[in-house]
């Protein structure tokens, strides 16, 4: 009998995943978003195969700020590097930052929001004041504060998994500043979830607070988290870009944000170098749009109320 149960649940999961995927993929937005994302992921996975090694000033081949041509499909930058090459290589960092920062902020935000909402009272009051504070704090101020901390922790000049400290700074900053938003959403949802009878039932069944939070509340937060996750991704790419804009990027590993800020510093806008500004910008736009589309579709899929309306 135990075997049959395991078989059952295995089959159930598979069935649930299948119906979920079926519904999810039924949305045009989800298809489009996934398509874009897969495209960028592939790009990020093998930049060297697609456009050759990353160009720096030392192996740049083109003219300074040459407009798009057959040789340089997206033109060149102010040191003569091929913009297409830069954009393709930038995908990896930008996507990593966006995804990891999103994970950080979702984990922190969900934990804080759920704890505050579930325990209430003074835990709630102080956690939410803390949240308010991070809500108020401008991300770049935080970036300046924690840069030395991260450098200290990582050791000077070290790399972790091939990423340099400045990337970690950006990751941590985005993670830290964007969780407040998630925490608010999660908390309000938790407030209503914890009043559900099934939580009471779990308590009568002898479950601990931790297991109630993990087994009962968390799964019901999934639609919220999925929907907001998409917004956080868009926000993360955005913040990464503006941090680079303030000069906190890594000049040897250009992300799309760094490229935008380089373009700005080189005076691309007033010199009319639209390709230099446009290429990374369109990439940022496309990726965050595809996440928003996927998040929208996830929200629609998970939200039974939305499903009824055609």
């Amino acid at each position: 009998m135990s075997k049959s149960t395991i078989r059952y649940s295995g089959r159930t999961r598979a069935r649930a995943i299948k119906t979920f995927l079926g519904q999810f993929l039924g949305y045009g937005g989800a298809q489009l978003g996934l398509l874009c994302l897969v495209f960028f992921l592939v790009t990020a996975a093998m930049p060297n195969i697609l456009v050759g090694p990353l160009q720096t000033a030392i192996n740049a081949t083109g003219d300074f700020l040459a407009p798009p041509s057959g040789q340089h499909l997206l033109g060149t930058d102010e040191v003569g590097r091929d913009v297409l090459n830069l954009v393709v290589h930038g995908a990896r960092i930008s996507l990593t930052i966006a995804l990891l920062a999103t994970v950080i902020s979702l984990v922190v935000g969900t934990t804080v929001g759920m704890t505050a909402g579930y325990f209430g009272r003074w835990v709630d009051v102080w956690l939410m004041r803390l949240t308010d504070f991070f809500f108020v704090m401008p991300s770049f101020v935080l970036a300046l504060v924690i840069t030395p901390v991260v450098l200290e922790v990582m050791g000077r000049g070290r790399e972790i998994l091939g990423f340099r400290p400045s990337l970690f700074v950006i990751l941590v900053v985005i993670g830290m500043t964007s969780w407040a938003f998630v925490a608010r959403v999660v908390r309000s949802q938790t407030l209503s979830l914890k009043e559900r009878t099934f939580v009471d039932r779990a308590r009568v069944a002898g479950s601990s607070n931790f297991s109630i939070m993990v087994r009962h509340i968390l799964p019901n937060l999934v639609p919220q988290i999925a929907a907001n996750g998409a917004l956080v991704v868009a926000g993360a790419i955005y913040v990464e870009t503006s941090l680079s804009f303030l000069g906190l990027g890594d000049p040897l590993q250009p992300s799309w944000g760094t490229l935008l800020s380089l373009a700005q510093r080189a005076g691309a806008a007033s010199a009319g170098a639209w390709w230099y500004l446009g290429a990374p910008g369109v990439c940022v736009l496309t990726v965050s749009l595809s996440f928003v589309l996927i998040g929208n579709a996830l929200d629609d899929t998970f939200n039974p109320r939305r499903r009824v309306i055609p």
């Binding site: 868009a234 790419i237 806008a269 910008g281």
Partner: protein, 324 residues
Amino acid sequence: MSRRIGRILLRAVITLVMVAILNFGLFRVIPGDPASLLLGGARTSVTDEQIEAQRQNWGLDRPLFPDQALDYLSATLQGDLGYSFKFRGRHVADLILERLPATIVLVGLAQFIAILCGVMLGVYAGWRRGGAVDHAATGVSLALYSTPSFWLGMLLVVIFSTALGWLPGYGAYSPGANVGSLDLALDYLRHLALPVTAVALGLIGQYVVVARAAMSDVVTEDYMVTARAKGLTGGQMLMRHAFRNAMLPVVTLITLNLGYVVAGAITVEAVFAWPGIGGLTVEALNARDYPVLQGIFLLLGVSIVMANLIADLAYGLLDPRVRQ
């Protein structure tokens, strides 16, 4: 009702005190000594003694806690934000007040436009969910929502200023324009056009998304069926019954964003060289001008807390259920 207001006020006060305390600490953790930084920026030789003298002058040599912290708190309570390090001789409050109008005009106007257009579009899209307007509005607004607004700003400059030359791309006025001339207002408006567009376009997306979601929730509510059963026309149902209910989440967003009116759109202001709080923030940040940064941050904190306060109170007005 008064209980609710009391509770809301208490929360606001707690947040403000926390903002003030952390405000003090945070800016002192940032590496870089303002004295050496500023003096080092000069093209003259600076001796260590000079730096030390400057540190003394600014009180930076005293222990962070409690001396500097208490000084800061007591002065802040008295409304004295101190003098700027960088712009020597200027009261921080003066500096901020000087820049505030430009930011409020820019972001305020952009918010106004975005709220107007975004809410209208979003409400209509949610009302006719699945329709042509819905698809178009949602698509465009999602795209706008995902666009970094400073990039949008740069594009606008490249297109409308550099390439077409229709509108000025930078600053708030034409250099050398005569003060007091009637054209000045027109000139100001022309300069305002592009930055306002950039900020507003970025915001519209948010409003459309939220208003649409709220509206499509409201449409499924049972009282909308009641309204239909009563024989109301579509317009009557929308205006009399759906709109006010759909406004609840939108009001939250509006007030949250209103808090940011003060902070300005830092990156957009940088792109357009708009003389607002955003520019001041960047300058103060580079110079480690603690008093100014603290002032801006305090202002931001206060305005966000106030905005939350307004949100809570407005909620009470819109939704009688939370008035208890």
